[in-house]
């Protein structure tokens, strides 16, 4: 008798445990916002909307794009909201008919250039590719001033950047730089032995720890680490930062669209943007929210940013990834 009791107990355990794993009524967001920041955002959003639970799936934009494409192909889309760091990608999502049209409450408060003209997606944050250096190892006067400087001898094997196969911001930056400087730019970086790591937070960590002296990375991460006392400093390159609006889109087939719109409303609201500034050191996408200490506001930012041809990036995504891979990764 004992055996069959153990047997039944084991089967029951499987079901009991499974009930722990299956989540409650929630909305699932696919995002590339770094986990610690996203956890803070999630907490403050759930405090504001106690009836909604946010299930965060955080990974690199490239990984999430691959995941979404597999899910679409297998008819098993899990995401309700996507908040990724590749502006161009949303055009292709829209063309595939995967996005839902919606109007956030305060859409008009958004600065121009941060929303889709057809109303399918709205930038919840703007992130910027810049240069960072370790200020224990490099003096301000000796730090790189422009993108071109990174191929100088003194940065040989001392510079690091993120992998565009994984990071959406990196693919946008590669696209922007290539349309301005051509692929020769990356050939020179390879000759200068620039290393490629997975994501931008890896880049930031490796510069702060002194593994590399300098690198190409996102502005808000460096602002955040600097505020926590890491020996890291950011530099806006003379030939232009690369500003990447990171839009929020709602999937067309979601069954919880009102909760999703609540989330978009929250992020785009004054309070939401203030949270983003406070928790993530992001540049706000609204004119009526103060940027983080010492940082430019979005209008000033766009003035010093490099021209970025989003259409070129959208249409040549695979080619850019491949070509970059051939030069830098293999």
């Amino acid at each position: 008798m004992k055996i069959s009791r153990i047997f039944i107990f084991m089967i029951l355990m499987v079901f009991v445990l499974s009930s722990f794993v299956i989540a409650e009524e929630t909305i699932t967001i696919y995002t590339s916002v770094p986990t610690e920041i996203m956890t803070d955002i999630k907490d403050s959003f759930e405090k504001e909307h106690p009836n909604i639970k946010l299930n965060v799936f955080r990974s690199g934009t490239g990984t999430l794009q691959a995941k979404i494409s597999t899910e679409v192909e297998t008819d098993n889309l899990q995401a309700d909201i996507v908040w990724l760091a590749d502006f161009a990608y949303y055009e292709s999502l829209k063309k595939q008919g995967l996005l839902k049209k919606f109007t956030p409450n305060e859409a008009d408060k958004l600065l121009p250039g941060f929303k889709d003209k057809d109303g399918y997606y709205y930038a919840g944050r703007v992130i910027n590719m810049i240069i960072a250096y370790n200020n224990n190892l490099v003096k301000e006067s000796e730090s790189p001033n422009s993108w071109k400087d990174l191929s100088e001898d003194k940065w040989y094997n001392q510079c690091v950047m993120a992998n565009p196969e994984y990071s959406g911001a990196a693919i946008s930056a590669v696209g922007a730089i290539v349309s301005n400087y051509g692929w020769e730019y990356y050939e020179e970086l390879r000759e200068n032995d620039v290393d490629v790591v997975k994501g931008n937070s890896t880049v930031a960590n490796k510069i702060a720890s002194g593994e590399y002296k300098t690198g190409i990375v996102l502005d808000y991460m460096i602002r955040g680490m600097k505020a926590k006392g890491s020996p890291i400093e950011l530099k806006y390159p003379e030939d232009g930062i690369i500003a990447i609006p990171s839009p929020i889109g709602i999937m067309k087939n979601t069954e919880k669209s009102s909760a999703c719109i609540d989330f978009a409303n929250y992020i785009l609201s004054q309070k939401g943007q203030e949270t983003l500034v406070k928790m993530g050191s992001f540049i706000p996408v609204r004119g009526d929210v103060e940027p983080p200490m010492g940082a430019p506001n979005a209008t000033e930012l766009m003035e010093q940013s490099m021209d970025t041809d989003w259409k070129y990036i959208e249409e040549n995504l695979d080619e850019i990834k491949n070509k970059f891979g051939d030069i830098m990764l293999y």
């Binding site: 299956i22 597999t70 008819d75 899990q78 890896t202 702060a208 720890s209 293999y330």
Partner: protein, 557 residues
């Protein structure tokens, strides 16, 4: 057919069907699909795979890593085996246990430890060496082909060690004694008698090490990829991670190539070596003479301690210390040490909490399901000696002998909605993959216990009027219970730490411990991934020792 017969056929038939469905079908599918290009039978996938320079380089790297690891594992594993079995090395029984520990350490945890120690930029050991006069730069670079082979050897040499030490124990000592009596010296006896006798066992261990090293994902991903060193498993991972569904299609032919490589190695073992293996080892247990080390005793003892320090201590310490650091890159002064990372991982961080919950659930469920299913398959194999049961036995062994990466790709192909069931992104796809991969453990342990039940017991039960189910419940299951429990743990432990398949199958709700450690490490949160890895290491080691203790040393991973 009466009711009893019906239930028997229903249960056994159901188990067979389930096995064919979750193991046979996906593997058949992956092979078939790799020969179909745009709806037609063709070799185009293979041609595409071998036109791409990246893939060719990855294939050649895979072979180099495999062969390099095998050679070093043989040297290390067989000499250590000789040392603990055939010499009078002090404390050799303790060493025998210690040398097996690397086998229990999850390879990706080893990879993390060794990148912390030997990273060319700020590896602890590299920094330490620079304190010596005259050395101003890092000497070791783990992110290289040599580094890859080094780390793999440290974690895969136990394959050779375990098999060789077992064979050395069972070896017929009279052959050696005759040689000694004829005047041969120790060295000559080893070269002309011991080594040739051991060669088939060493070869068997070597092939296991080869197959394990080409199938491994964690080590090349964490150590090779930063240096642009790709192998087949990491190529498949990159395809799937950056190419979406097209990437899965592109990875098909690479998966087949990987599968064919490891199957050829095993077939080689089966057909070539099986013939040579048996004549030379005595059936009876005889105590072979111990070689007296004399003046070499101390040097060899120090060497043995050194091996333990390198394989077990140094990596564990480096991970553990890192897990106590406040921030990455700070120095090891007392005020920089903290337990915050553990508190964060256990109580605050959503991802790691979810990962632990999921991994325990996946390991528990797959061990339970695999044991139940595997026991019925074992029952068929033991009780029906025909071609079909032989076929079932082979089917159940395949998933463990081929790389986990291939099993995962096969699962995605089969269970993502094209064939009735859509398990993609759910926890079921992970459990099904775990069950498929580890079912051979369950079949093996259960069938060896079943074989020990004498038929008279079953006959007695039947004569007393018990039906099949009652006999199963009252006679068979109680008798094989120890085997069932051991088998359950043998599946629970490796699935708890699984990475290779999980990394390709996880979704928004199904993160596992292995995946969380890997992702945190790749994102540069070294202290946090080290904290989670330390916890995993502690659980796995304690679990293993418990199993060894419970089974009185007979089992354990």
């Amino acid at each position: 057919m009466n009711f009893e017969k019906k239930t028997k056929w229903l249960v056994l038939g159901g188990a067979t069907l389930l096995l064919l469905l979750i193991v046979g079908f996906p593997l058949l599918l992956i092979i078939l699909k790799s020969f179909i290009f745009e709806g037609e039978l063709s070799l185009q996938h293979y041609i595409n795979a071998f036109v791409s320079k990246r893939n060719i380089v990855a294939f050649s790297n895979t072979l180099q890593v495999g062969i390099g690891t095998t050679i070093f594992s043989v040297i290390l594993g067989s000499s250590l085996a000789w040392l603990v079995v055939r010499t009078d090395l002090p404390h050799k029984n303790i060493f025998r246990t210690l040398f097996i520990i690397p086998y229990m350490i999850p390879p990706f945890v080893g990879a993390i430890a060794w990148s912390l120690l030997l990273s060319p930029r700020n590896g602890y050991f590299n920094k330490f060496i620079q304190l010596l006069p005259g050395i101003n730069e890092s000497i070791f670079n783990v992110n290289s082909m040599f580094g890859l082979i080094w780390v793999m050897t440290l974690y895969f040499f136990p394959f050779v060690f375990i098999i060789t030490s077992g064979a050395l124990e069972r070896m017929d000592p009279t052959l050696e004694e005759v040689a000694y009596a004829s005047g041969a010296g120790t060295f000559k006896v080893m070269k002309d008698i011991t080594l040739p006798l051991m060669a088939p066992s060493i070869m068997g261990g070597a092939l296991l090490a080869f197959v394990a090293s080409i199938a491994n994902f964690g080590i090349p991903a964490l150590i090779g990829m930063p240096a642009r060193l790709h192998v087949l498993t990491t190529m498949i991972y990159s395809h799937i991670y950056s190419g979406g569904f097209d990437g899965i299609k592109r990875s098909l032919s690479l998966s087949s190539v990987l599968m064919i490589t490891s199957i050829s190695a095993l077939l080689f073992n089966y057909f070539y070596l099986k013939k040579k293996a048996f004549t030379i080892i005595a059936g009876k247990s005889m105590r072979p003479n111990l070689v007296k080390l004399r003046k070499w005793k101390t040097p060899f003892f120090i060497l043995a301690i050194f091996v333990v320090a390198i394989t077990v201590l140094a990596p564990s310490i480096s991970i553990f210390i890192t897990s106590l650091l406040k921030g990455w890159g700070v120095d090891f002064s007392l005020q920089n040490l903290t337990l915050d990372n553990y508190i964060y991982v256990l109580f605050e961080y959503d991802l790691t909490q979810k990962a632990m919950k999921n991994s325990f659930f996946f390991a528990f469920s797959s061990a339970t399901i695999a044991m139940i299913l595997g026991s019925f398959i074992a029952y068929i194999i033991v009780n029906y000696d025909n071609k079909f049961s032989k076929f079932l036995e082979i089917i159940s062994t395949i998933p463990y002998t081929i790389p986990g990466t291939v099993v995962a790709v096969a699962m995605i192909l089969a269970w993502s909605g094209n064939y009735v069931l859509n398990l993609y992104n759910t926890f079921w796809i992970i459990i099904v993959a775990y069950v498929a991969r580890y079912i051979s453990f369950s079949v093996r342990t259960t069938s060896s216990s079943l074989k020990q039940i004498h038929h008279s017991l079953i006959d007695a039960s039947r004569i007393s009027g018990a039906n099949w189910l009652t006999t199963l419940k009252n006679i068979i299951i109680p008798l094989i219970k120890p085997g069932l429990i051991a088998g359950w743990f043998l599946i629970f432990m490796p699935t708890l730490r699984e990475l290779t398949m999980s990394i390709l199958l996880w979704g928004p709700k199904t993160v596992t411990i292995g995946v969380a450690v890997f992702e945190l490490q790749e994102a540069g949160y070294f202290q946090i991934s080290a904290a989670l890895a330390s916890l995993l290491l502690i659980v796995v080691l304690i679990g293993n020792f418990l199993v060894r203790l419970l089974s009185k040393g007979k089992l354990g991973i």
